[in-house]
Structure formats: C-alpha cells, structure tokens
C-alpha cells in the first residue's frame, strides 16, 4: 500500500475550495462576523457549490427511525437544501471547510492583486532571525509543546473511538508528541509601520465606523499575513486625538466634534517619538466622513500632512465614508490642495460593498490617485 497518493487529490481539493472562497470573498469579508478575530482563528466556511449535481429530490425526505416518542414528537431540525439530520445517508451533510483568518486575508490579497507594499529603499538591516514558531514531531523535552501534543492525542483518541466521555483519559503515544522548533526568517529588509487613524466623531454613524473598522481589520490582517513583524499604531480622534490599542480601535464609541488635524498631529507625534523615520517604511491610513470642523481645520490638517507626515511616509491613504450627516468636503479640499500626488491615495466608500474596492484602490498595483 502506497501512502500519500491522496495528497495530490487533497491539494487539488484545497485549491478548488480556495478558488470558491475567493470568488465569494466579498461576502465573508463584509459580513462583519470576523471582525476582531486573531489571525490564527479558524473559520468554518460552508461550501455549497462543490457538490456534484445529480437528480435528487428537492424536498426534505422523511424516513424510518427508532426510539421512544409519541406521534407528533419532534426529533430533528432540517438543514438547508433538503438535507436531513438522518445519519443513515452518508455524504449528505453540508461541506464545511476550515480556513484561518490569515489564509482568508491572503486570498484577499491575491484576489485584489495587492502587491507587496513598495519599499522606498530605506536602510537595509541584514541578517536572519530565528523564531520558535514551528512545530515538529521530534525534539528535546524542554521544547515539548504540551497543548499540541495533547490535541493530537485527543484527536486520535476521539477518532479511533477510544475516548470515553465519562472517564476521559488521554494517553499520548509517541506519534502524538509535538515539539517547538525553529524557523529561520530573513530579517525583513525594511521595517514597516502602519498607522491607522479613525474619525470617531458624532457625524460618523455606527455604519460608518463599522466600515472603517472592517477595512482596517482586513488591511491589518492581510498585511500581517504578508509581513511578519510589522508595527502598527492606532489613533482615534474627534475634536481631540488619542492613541489606543488595537482592541479599543475596533470597539470604541466616541462622539464629539471633528478636528481632523488633531488626528494627523497625533500620528506625527507617535511616529516620531517611537520610530526613526529614516529606518522605517511608514504607511498612514485615515478614515472619516469628511465633515471637518470648518475650513480652518482643513488647512491645518493639510499643512500637517504636507510638512510633517508626507515627507517620510511611503503612502498616505484617505478613505472617505459617505454619511448623511457629513458634507464630504474634506476629500474635495484634499484633492484640490494636493492635486496628483503619488504618495496619496483616496477612496470613497458608499456602503459595505465598497470595502473591497477601497482596499484595492489603496494598495492595488499601479493605482493612480482616484477620485470618484
């Protein structure tokens, strides 16, 4: 018996599944359910379209069962598409495939054809770094990974039917043991830093904030997937700005007036306080509904951008999310002020459907500044 022939078929299946997921990517991305999850989180995605079509009954079919119960008693709940709960018909359950958030984000990158963020040729730091990020089946006891070992033993025990829920006893066999191991990473040739700025003022409604978060989340997840060790900073502002952590960024509910300049000032502060702009590739993203507190603050914001941020950033992305309260004036003024600047990319997002488009407009290949 030759072991392993199935790997080819498995890979083929995975490739097909990835294609299917990529096609429906927008759906998963904008569903909002995944917001806030960590990149290793596994998501179960139901794949309906991979079934080979046959002549089948459309309606749910009854059948024969056994057990206690009166006539009329409820014994099961129907799944979609004529699939019953019955365990006697193999292969009728809906196919669900596990994907990590990271994989989803990578698909996003491929689907939108997002390139590597362009390196502006900062100072190269050479060398390699070893990280204990990989797992292998052998190793010194000191590096034994308990969790993975236990998981393997548990899985094996469950699948071979030995697991006794009343007397749970997991005894790992040699094959179960897992040990941490090194993976050598080339130290990134350039260091990258992303600063996310979000307008959380009153005019930014829940939907607008949601959109801003979703875009930030996916960009963040995608970048995490492509680059290891990237730095990120999160800033929220209304009439004042403050730096927050990732979690707060994704959950906060401020609501005050709007002074965009404060956001940019804060960003500049944070960046220059902690990083040497000469050594870092810096990317800044800002989301707002464009309803700033008057022309004066617009001017102020532009001068901060022009004189402070733009000189050292590789890319500044401004995403304006349409809101019924916002005038959207900021984008117009920004465009007027800067004209065609290759460091600035903008996007208008009307609703959730525009999320993917925005990401593409920010990071897509050879995109010129767009204005709709």
């Amino acid at each position: 018996m030759v072991k392993g022939k199935i790997k080819g078929d498995e890979k083929r299946f995975n490739d097909i599944v990835k294609q299917i997921i990529r096609k429906d990517l927008g759906k998963y991305i904008t569903s909002g359910e995944l917001l806030g999850k960590k990149k290793d989180n596994i998501v179960s995605i139901p794949i309906k379209s991979l079934e080979i079509p046959r002549f089948k009954y459309g309606k749910h079919q009854g059948g024969v069962g056994s057990g206690e119960g009166e006539l009329g008693d409820l014994i099961g709940i129907g799944k979609e598409e004529g699939h019953s709960e019955a365990g006697d018909k193999p292969g009728e359950h809906i196919l669900e495939v596990d994907v990590t958030l990271e994989e989803l984000a990578q698909m996003l990158g491929e689907e939108l054809e997002l390139p590597f963020l362009e390196d502006k040729g900062k100072k190269n730091v050479e060398g390699e770094v070893e990280k204990l990020t990989s797992i292998r089946k052998t190793g010194p006891e000191g590096l034994r990974q308990f969790k993975r070992t236990y998981k393997e033993a548990l899985r094996r025990s469950l699948q071979s039917g030995q697991y006794n829920i009343l007397k749970p006893r997991i005894i790992p066999i040699r094959d179960d043991f897992r040990y941490r191991s090194w993976k050598t990473y080339p130290r990134p040739e350039s260091n990258a830093l992303i600063v996310y700025i979000m307008d959380v003022s009153g005019s930014m409604g829940d939907m607008q904030k949601e959109i801003a978060r979703q875009i930030s989340f996916w960009v963040d997840t995608w970048i995490e997937a492509r680059y290891h060790g990237i730095e990120k900073r999160f800033i929220i502002h209304d009439a004042r700005a403050q730096e927050v952590n990732r979690e707060e960024f994704f959950t906060t509910r401020e609501s005050g007036g709007t002074k965009i300049s404060t956001g940019y000032e804060k960003a500049h502060n944070v960046i220059t306080s902690y990083y040497n702009p000469d050594e870092w590739n810096i990317y800044v993203m800002h989301f707002s509904d464009g309803d700033n507190w008057g022309e004066d603050d617009n001017k102020k914001a532009f001068s901060v951008l022009d004189e402070k941020l733009l000189p050292y950033t590789n890319l500044f992305c401004y995403g304006q999310i349409t809101s019924q309260y916002g005038s959207g004036q900021f984008l117009k003024d920004l465009t007027n002020y800067f004209g065609e600047d290759e460091k600035i990319r903008t996007s208008i997002i009307g609703d959730k459907e525009g999320i993917l488009k925005c990401i593409k407009e920010f990071f897509g290949k050879n995109e010129k500044k767009r204005n709709k």
């Binding site: 089948k56 699948q159 039917g161």
Partner: protein
C-alpha cells in the same frame, strides 16, 4: 514506504479468530491483513478501501472530511475490507487488542458475505488490479490532454453516476467498450446502434460465437428496423450511463473514462444494495465469535469457547454498543441488520415462520408459541390419551428444568429456552447423545416427582390440524446462512421485517414539516414502516430516471422521464431544480443534442429542457 509489522500477538489472534470463524461455518476468501496508522486509514477510507484511485478532487474532499472525523458518525472506523480475492483488510494500528479481535472477526464475516451473497456473484474479484488499471488509464489521459480537461470530464461523468440499473447486474456485461475503434466505424451506418457481442473470454472462440456473417445479418435486420423509425430505445432504459456510452458521439478517451465510471459503480452497486445485511451479518458474527454465546443455545451442538478474556469483556461491550448505538433519526444500519438476523435465527429455531405462524390468530397460541409447537409435534405423533400423557410430560419437564436452572444444575441463559431443551431431550430419549445427556438423564427420574397436569387449550387442535407435518425446530443457524446468501436489503426487509420486530425495536416513520423546518414522528404502523423503509432502499432512495426516446422529435434529441412512484405524493417527488438543470447540462455535454426531462414540479408535470444554451420549463401537454 515501510509496511508495519504485524506483531506476533496479533498474528496469533488472527489465526485463532480465523480458525474459530471457520468452525462456525464462515466461508471466506483468503484474507490479508495490514496494519495502518490513522492517516493511512483516512486515506484508504477516502479511496473506499483501495490503495489508490484515479486522480480526482472528490477523494481529496473525502479525505478532508475524514481527517475531521465528520464521516465517522456513529461508526468509529476500526477497519476497512474490500470485495476482492484475496480479501484485503486494514486494521488501525492504535486499536487495543480487544478492538483488534472484534475487528478481525468482523472482517471475516464481511469476507464471507462478499464471497457468498449472490448480489456479488458477478463482481470482479480482482478489482484491486482493475481499479489500479483505471487509475493508470486516467493518468495517461491527463498526460495527453491536461489535468483540467480530464477533471472537467470526470465531473460530468460523476454527475450521471447513479443513473444505472441496479437490477441489471446479472445481465451479461457488454464488452463494447474495448472495441471502441470498431464501433466508431459503425457510427457511419446511420443510428449509432451497435450489436453487443455476447460476452466471451477473448479467445479463439470469439470468431465462432459471433461469426461475421451472423453479425452482418443481425446488423441488416436492425437497419431495416431502424428504417421504420421505430422507437429507440424500444423499452425505457434505466441504465442511462451505459446507453450514453453505447450511443453518443464521444471521443475514444471520453468513452473510456465514462466506461471506467460505469464499471466502478457497478462494482460497488452490490455493496450499496446489501449494506444493512452486510453490516448486520458482520456485527452478528463479531458478537458471536467474541462472546461464544453458542454455548447458551441448547439447540446448537457445538460448544465453541469465547475468544475474549474476562477483563476484555467489559471493554468489548462498550465498543460493541458504540457500534450499535441507535441514533434518534435514521436507523443505524448495523443494528437493524444485526437484530433482524438474530430475530430470523430465533424464529427459525422455534418454528415461528410459515403459514402456521402467519395465519395464527389465537392469543393463546401466539403468546406461548413454544408450547404450541411442542404440542404440535406431539400431536403429529400421538393421539388421544397418549397425547395427553405426553403433554403432561412436557409440562413436567419444563418445571423440572426450571428447578434445575434455579439450583444451578443446568445453565439456562433465557427462560424462553426451556422449551428448546424439550426437543433436545426427545432426541436424547431416542438414543441421540448430546452435550446435555448427563443432565437429561437426571431429569428422567425427577419427572416422576413433579407431575404437572394441565389441559391443552382447545383452539390448538384445530390450528395444528390445518398444517400437516412436524414443525422443524433448531433451523435458525442454517436459515441465516441461507439468508445471507440469497437476499439483498430490499428482499431482506420485505421478507423478514415483522410487526413484532417493529414494536420490539420501537421503529417509526418520520416526516418533514415544511412550516417549522422540523422532523417529527408520523407513524408507528407496521405496514407504513415497512413501505417507507423499502422505498428508501429502492434505488438507494434516489429518483428513478429512464431514457424513453433517443430520437425525440426525429432529431436525435434525448428524452428522459422521471419515473414517479406511488409511495410518495406527487409534490414531494419534485426534484431539486438547480441540481437537475446542472445534471441536464452534463448529459448534454455527452449527448451533444438537446436533452429533455419529464418530471414533476410541485403539483404539475413539466418538461425541463436544455439545448446547450438555455434551460426551459414547459408544461406537459398530454
């Protein structure tokens, strides 16, 4: 790749179990065992027991599901056996010894089933080679035409996989497929109708059995027939797959691949048709062999000992019950098959079958059937006073045996077995020694002290007189061997499912309620249960579709008909529309001309059609 060593201990167990199985009468092909680990077992399961198959993502999909434990359901895969000679069986490396014993016994029973059940009599027993050959052929085509082309075509073929005639297994397989060149030439002669060669070994006889002259004559006859544009096919054809291979304009490699799909589904079809029986048979035997319970059946002369050690017994019980746990919805195929076999054995041990049983209505007869049978056999031999005496002797015998079992002089597993001892006792009195001889001789004297005198219920005489001849008892074991040979799931259920069985095992019919999207218990009536079960087994519960006209509208278009059944109301036989349309597209792929399907859509009869570009739905004008 290293093959895992079978430990000495395991080898001993295999030998022991093999010997025991043979002693019980199991008759199997030479069986080769292999130890595999988890990953290998998942891989084998994905390939349905074969080391490899043709390349296709569906196997990858199965594998992914197996890895997650989804496909196991209630059944924890301990083993994998294939219908082949020699039989190959795979044991999971990490099984404890008690599991291995159970599995090995289970395997031998499967092997016996494959070898002896008539549904399998025409299957290839060298399928392992054949399937490997299929894989090679497909891989060759992948090399020639590219993976994507081949994969797409296989997807198309798989869509039609179940459009076969499961009852045609015994019709000679036509050897057309391997003479494709010849047939493509025949295409030129009008309708692509080929004269199937009678299946023969490819030897010199070929020339003689299908001499050219006769073939030419037959072909001419067909041509004349065709000129009259008679209906083609004459009768509705259920084996659509085969029909397509024979009659559509496929490229040689396409016809070959379609024929591979056809061959494989026909190979697996008997397994689908006998799943309940096969699993029941295997569960019956692993239980029997493991616990050696033949000792407790008085009617069986052998006293084969158990294979299990005492402390393994508990473990075994757990695992066995894991296999036979009953799900709420749907039936556990192991359990129903197992219980039916046991029921059959019990009934044939006690003469609880045939007209004498089926036509009995009197409660006193049915409630104490064993007593009635004892009476019946005495009635055949004795009359009047003698009969009475003998009857009292029987009653007394029962009392004594019960006493002896209470005091430990006789091992009695079930109270119900007491009457069975009577028959053995009669044998003993006739001079036939058996394993109870010692005990029976003690009984003789005890009979005098324990006289019981009760009257024979009146209705018994009449009923006994209706059916001449003694009733055979103790035929249970023989009967189940016969059953495993000649029945399939449908005939098995049809013949042996009884009202009592349904009641005992609390079977019910369940239905779906659209409003709340729920399933509920709808009936416990025996006939309804049986009907529903048979329906779900017919054509594996799939709608039946046939080719009715391959020259529709005189333009060579293909007309299919969904054969509706009376078992369900019209509305619930509506097909899944999206899937039906996609399947029609796949049929079009092969037929290359418009395809029609006459079917039902809710309350109306409709014709779905596909012409390569558009799907249409027309009302059926009749």
């Amino acid at each position: 790749m290293r093959r895992k060593e079978i430990s000495k201990e395991l080898k001993t167990i295999i030998e022991k179990t093999k010997k025991k199985s043979k002693e019980y009468g199991l008759d199997f092909f030479e069986t080769v065992f292999e130890i595999v680990d988890f990953e290998e077992m998942n891989e084998l399961s994905s390939y349905v027991g074969f080391p490899s198959r043709y390349p296709h993502w569906k196997f990858g999909m199965e594998y992914t599901q197996f890895k997650k434990g989804y496909n196991y359901g209630l059944m924890k895969i301990y083993e994998m056996v294939i219908n082949n000679n020699p039989c190959y069986a795979y044991l999971l490396e990490s099984n404890e010894m008690v599991d291995q014993k159970l599995v090995i016994a289970h395997v031998y029973a499967h092997s016996d089933f494959f070898k002896n059940n008539t549904e399998f009599s025409k299957t290839r027993r060298n399928m392992i080679d054949e399937i490997a050959n299929h894989g090679e052929r497909v891989r060759k085509y992948v090399d020639l035409f590219g993976r994507e082309t081949i994969e797409k075509f296989i997807d198309t073929c798989l869509s039609l996989e179940y459009l076969i005639d499961p009852n045609s297994i015994f019709i000679k397989r036509k050897e057309c497929f391997h003479n494709l060149e010849e047939e493509l030439e025949l295409e030129e002669k009008g309708l692509e109708k080929r004269l199937p060669k009678i299946e023969v070994e490819r030897t010199y006889m070929d020339e003689f059995i299908n001499p050219k002259s006769i073939l030419e004559e037959e072909t001419k006859k067909l041509e004349e027939k065709n000129k009259k544009t008679e209906k083609f096919p004459e009768e509705p054809e259920r084996d659509i797959l085969f029909f397509l291979i024979e009659n559509s304009k496929l490229k040689r490699w396409q016809a070959d691949i379609l024929s591979i799909i056809w061959e494989e589904i026909y190979y697996f079809a008997p397994q689908i048709k006998t799943k309940i029986m096969n699993e029941g048979w295997a569960a019956y035997w692993h239980s029997k062999i493991m616990t050696g319970s033949d000792k407790t059946n008085p009617l069986i002369d052998s006293s084969l000992a158990a294979i299990l050690d005492d402390d393994e017994f508990i473990n075994y019980a757990e695992h066995h019950s894991g296999i036979t746990t009953v799900p709420r919805v749907g039936i556990n195929q192991y359990k129903i098959g197992l219980e039916l076999f046991r029921d059959i054995e019990d009934r044939w041990d006690r003469g609880k079958h045939g007209k004498i049983y089926e036509e009995a209505t009197d409660i006193s007869i049915l409630d104490t059937w064993d007593d009635f049978i004892a009476f019946k056999n005495l009635y055949e031999e004795f009359k009047n006073l003698d009969l009475k005496e003998k009857w009292y002797e029987y009653l007394t015998f029962k009392k004594v045996v019960k006493k002896m079992s209470d005091s430990g002089d006789l091992y009695l597993k079930y109270r119900e077995d007491i009457p069975l001892h009577w028959h053995k006792y009669l044998e003993f009195k006739e001079g036939k020694e058996n394993r109870f001889s010692k005990v029976y001789s003690k009984i003789e004297s005890a009979l005098l002290e324990n006289k019981v005198e009760e009257e024979i219920p009146e209705p018994w005489f009449e009923h006994a007189s209706k059916y001449p001849g003694k009733i055979k008892i103790g035929k249970g074991r023989e009967k189940i061997f016969e059953v495993r040979k000649i029945y399939n799931d449908i005939t098995f259920i049809d013949t042996f499912l009884t009202k009592e069985f349904c009641e005992k095992h609390k079977l019910f019919v369940y239905d779906y309620e659209e409003k709340n999207n729920t399933y509920y218990i709808s009936d416990r009536d025996f006939q309804k249960i049986k009907q529903r079960l048979l329906f779900s087994l017919t054509n594996a519960g799939q709608p039946i579709v046939e080719v009715v006209d391959a020259n529709y509208q005189n333009r060579g278009e293909l007309y299919l008909k969904h054969k509706l059944t009376e078992e369900l109301d019209i509305k619930s036989q509506t097909l899944d529309i999206k899937k039906a349309e996609a399947t029609l597209e796949n049929i079009y792929e092969i037929w290359k001309k418009p395809v029609y399907l006459e079917t039902v859509l809710d309350d109306d009869l409709k014709i779905f059609s596909y012409n390569g570009e558009k799907h249409k739905k027309l009302d059926l004008v009749n």
